[in-house]
């Protein structure tokens, strides 16, 4: 038993380095994909202190819109542009109908409002697109398919899916772009101000309406990217919404307000989860992935209650 826990896994890692590398790669890809979802959450949290429960469904919604348009004969790239437009309209609508009347309310109320939004989008999305899963038009969008295998040793093989590489590249570009946008611009500072105190932000002349429309739109774009990437992995269906839960530990681990935190958190969870499941999961019957991420996050939190890069929780009287 002790051997199984403390020695065997490491022996395996050394004996089958190709496989270990593959595990690391899968962990990396999973981490990147989680990070993409988490990024959407971070944007909105950073800008309003709202935990946007609807991010998961926005991912589905964006993916379905894209595929749905294509199915109706719109060329792939035009469909992409139209989808971006739809996300813009959605952002404006959310700002107008949900956020604006609820300014200055406690976080939990805003969270609840995004849950209402989730319900609405589920119903609306299924109403428009039906509940059937749809195939992502990855190829049509020019995303690479296929895979490359690297030989290692005699029978070793590390297989890299091109789509995964594309996902990683896109994620890194988005994170950098958003990071710069939010940290280096006037709007970035305003965002953080809004998250701290809506009323005070209003009083210094920050237009919450404008800020919210911008971030919801940005979150919509992230959702679209996420939808494309996740959709290419499995299918675009409402079941994808469940995957969004995976963003929670990532988010919490990285800290709700940090864009790099989303990536680092994603990677920690991705690596931890894959390695844990593959090398230790078998000991308890497998499937530990469903909670391992939370336990990893929990352990980190016990040392840093605000997450790795989160803003310190201010305690003062």
């Amino acid at each position: 038993m002790l051997y199984d826990i403390f020695i065997d896994p490491f022996v395996q890692m050394v004996e089958m380095p190709d496989f270990f590398l593959q595990v690391l790669w899968e962990g990396f890809v999973a981490g990147i994909l989680y990070a993409l979802i988490a990024l959407g959450f971070v944007l909105i949290f950073k800008a309003s202190g709202v935990f946007n429960f609807a991010q998961g469904i926005m991912v589905v919604f964006a993916g379905l819109t894209l595929v749905g348009l294509h199915e109706n004969g719109v060329p792939a790239f035009l469909a992409l542009i139209l989808t971006i437009g739809v996300m813009g309209v959605l952002a404006y609508g959310i700002e107008r109908v949900v956020m604006r009347p609820l300014v200055n309310q406690p976080d939990i109320i805003l969270l609840m409002a995004t849950i209402g939004l989730t319900y609405f989008l589920i119903g609306f999305g299924e109403f428009v697109f039906g509940g059937e899963p749809k195939r992502m038009i990855a190829e049509e969008l020019g995303l690479p398919t296929g895979s490359t295998a690297f030989e290692m040793g005699e029978r070793g093989l590390v297989i890299l899916q091109h789509i995964d590489i594309a996902a990683a590249v896109i994620a890194i570009i988005m994170v950098t772009a958003l990071g710069i946008f939010f940290n280096k611009t006037r709007i970035g500072r305003a965002l953080r101000a809004v998250a701290d105190d809506h009323q005070a932000a209003l009083s210094v002349g920050i237009s919450l309406n404008q800020i919210w429309a911008i971030v919801w739109f940005a979150a919509g774009l992230v959702a679209l990217a996420t939808g494309i990437m996740w959709g290419a992995r499995s299918d675009v269906s409402f079941a994808l919404e469940i995957v969004a839960f995976k963003a929670l530990p990532v988010l919490i681990l990285g800290g709700f307000t940090s864009i790099p935190g989303a990536i680092i958190g994603g990677l920690i969870i991705g690596f931890g989860e894959k390695i844990g499941e593959i090398y230790w999961g078998g000991l308890v019957g497998g499937g530990i992935e469903s909670w391992l991420a939370y336990i990893i996050a929990l352990i980190f939190l016990l040392f840093r209650p605000q997450g790795l890069f989160g803003e310190k929780i201010i305690e003062r009287v």
Partner: protein
């Protein structure tokens, strides 16, 4: 609503995470019954009153649908979810409405003596599991050659996927192969890379899958990704959807699955459906999906319902029957080749017969293979290993009755 017809509530799901599979089933069930209404004016001269109730594959909503519809003289329930089936089993005897769980649900319910109100023709999961192993044995040139082989089992980590495990384990011992299990948690359906990494490491000779909803297409994609030989990958009949296989693209070519309902749309009855129902705009079915595996599965389900009603009408001489009549009818169900031919469904299914003792019947199953675009039959009818399955079934039924003591004794007379 039901005074002038036989009321058949259909618990379906066209929404939620399992909608991808559920929609086709729902369409198939609905269309066949409608076709009977259109073509024959129903069954035995009375119309079938069809009502769908959306469950979203959620047990609570399923029960709610049941409660809302049972009072309208429902004749039979098809829950299409193991979870809902389990809730309905004890209620069936009390409310006197049979439950037809075709090829799913509680395997033990095949024991008609313990579960007079539950039917799971044509097969239980244990039948399926035994067929899978038998087929692999055939591929290897005999069951004795299974010795030393490694067979992987990837399953949805829920009652559904776990049920076949005892039989697999028993067979592993008996035939000397090694069973490796890969559980896919429901929440991780679309995120199976760990499981498939493990498959890659363990290199099983064959893979068997018990998947549903979004799990199946994802698994097939992942299998393609790790370059698993697809012709050694066999799914249960619920992982046999066209969309499931299509998701894997080119690479999915060669994937196999068990099936017990016909492939394709060349059957006269199905052509009738197309003409009278779908083309007439009376259904939501996408014409292209007619003849797909899950659609046909839905059709077969309705065939059994219809035949059950007909049998009940003959048995009782009534036109509008009750749940109790239906139960008796189902127990005399005998779907012969001749009858299938009459129905315009020659070769659509293996003949099936229900007896009072055996509500499943362990009917033969065939294997189909994906050719990159559609399914093609890849084997003859394979008999389940009844000798293994039946004792297990009976033991399970006994166990169920004990655990749920006091479980009522069968009081229903055997109609034949």
């Amino acid at each position: 609503a039901a005074e002038d017809g036989n009321y058949v509530p259909l618990l379906t799901y066209r929404t939620g995470p399992y909608a991808g599979s559920g929609i086709h089933i729902a369409n198939g069930m609905n269309d066949y019954l409608q076709m009977l209404n259109e073509r024959d004016g129903g069954i035995g001269g009375v119309k079938i009153v069809i009502e769908e109730c959306e469950t979203g594959y959620n047990a609570q909503k399923g029960v709610e649908c049941y409660e809302a519809t049972k009072g309208k003289n429902a004749v039979v329930y098809n829950p299409y979810s193991t979870g809902i089936t389990l809730q309905l089993i004890p209620k069936a005897a009390v409310d006197k409405i049979p439950v037809l769980s075709m090829g799913y649900g509680l395997s033990a319910a095949a024991d008609g003596n313990t579960f007079p109100w539950v039917f799971n023709v044509p097969d239980t999961y244990w039948d399926g599991a035994s067929v899978a192993i038998k087929y692999i044995g055939e591929q290897e040139g005999g069951l004795e050659n299974l010795k030393g082989k490694k067979i992987g089992y990837i399953f949805l980590d829920a009652g559904y996927g776990r049920e076949p495990i005892p039989l697999f384990e028993q067979m592993a011992e008996k035939f000397g192969f090694e069973l490796v299990k890969y559980a896919v948690p429901g929440k991780e359906m679309q995120n199976q890379s760990s499981q498939w990494l493990n498959v890659r490491r363990d290199r099983p000779d064959y893979m068997i899958m018990w998947g549903w909803g979004a799990m199946s297409p994802t698994a097939i994609k992942e299998a393609v990704k790790i370059r698993y030989p697809m012709d050694k990958f066999i799914g249960v009949w619920w992982s046999a959807g066209d969309d499931d296989a299509a998701a894997g693209g080119e690479g999915a070519k060669g994937y196999k699955a068990m099936n017990f309902s016909g492939v394709g749309s060349d059957y006269p009855a199905i052509q009738d459906i197309k003409k009278l129902v779908v083309d007439a705009g009376k259904s939501q079915t996408d014409p292209e999906s007619i003849g797909s595996t899950l659609y046909n599965r839905g059709v077969l389900n309705s065939v059994i319902i219809a035949e059950g009603i007909r049998a009940a009408q003959q048995l009782t001489g009534k036109k509008v029957i009750t749940g109790e009549d239906m139960r008796a009818g189902l127990e005399t169900l005998d779907l012969t080749n001749e009858r299938l031919a009459e129905l315009g469904l020659t070769g659509f299914a293996h003949p099936m017969k229900v007896t009072c003792e055996d509500h499943a019947g362990s009917h033969p199953v065939f294997i189909q293979q994906w050719d990159g675009e559609k399914w093609a039959v890849a084997s003859g009818w394979i008999e389940p290993m009844k000798d293994l399955v039946r004792p297990l079934l009976e033991a399970a039924a006994k166990d169920y009755a004990e655990k749920n003591a006091p479980w009522p004794k069968r009081t229903e007379a055997c109609p034949n």
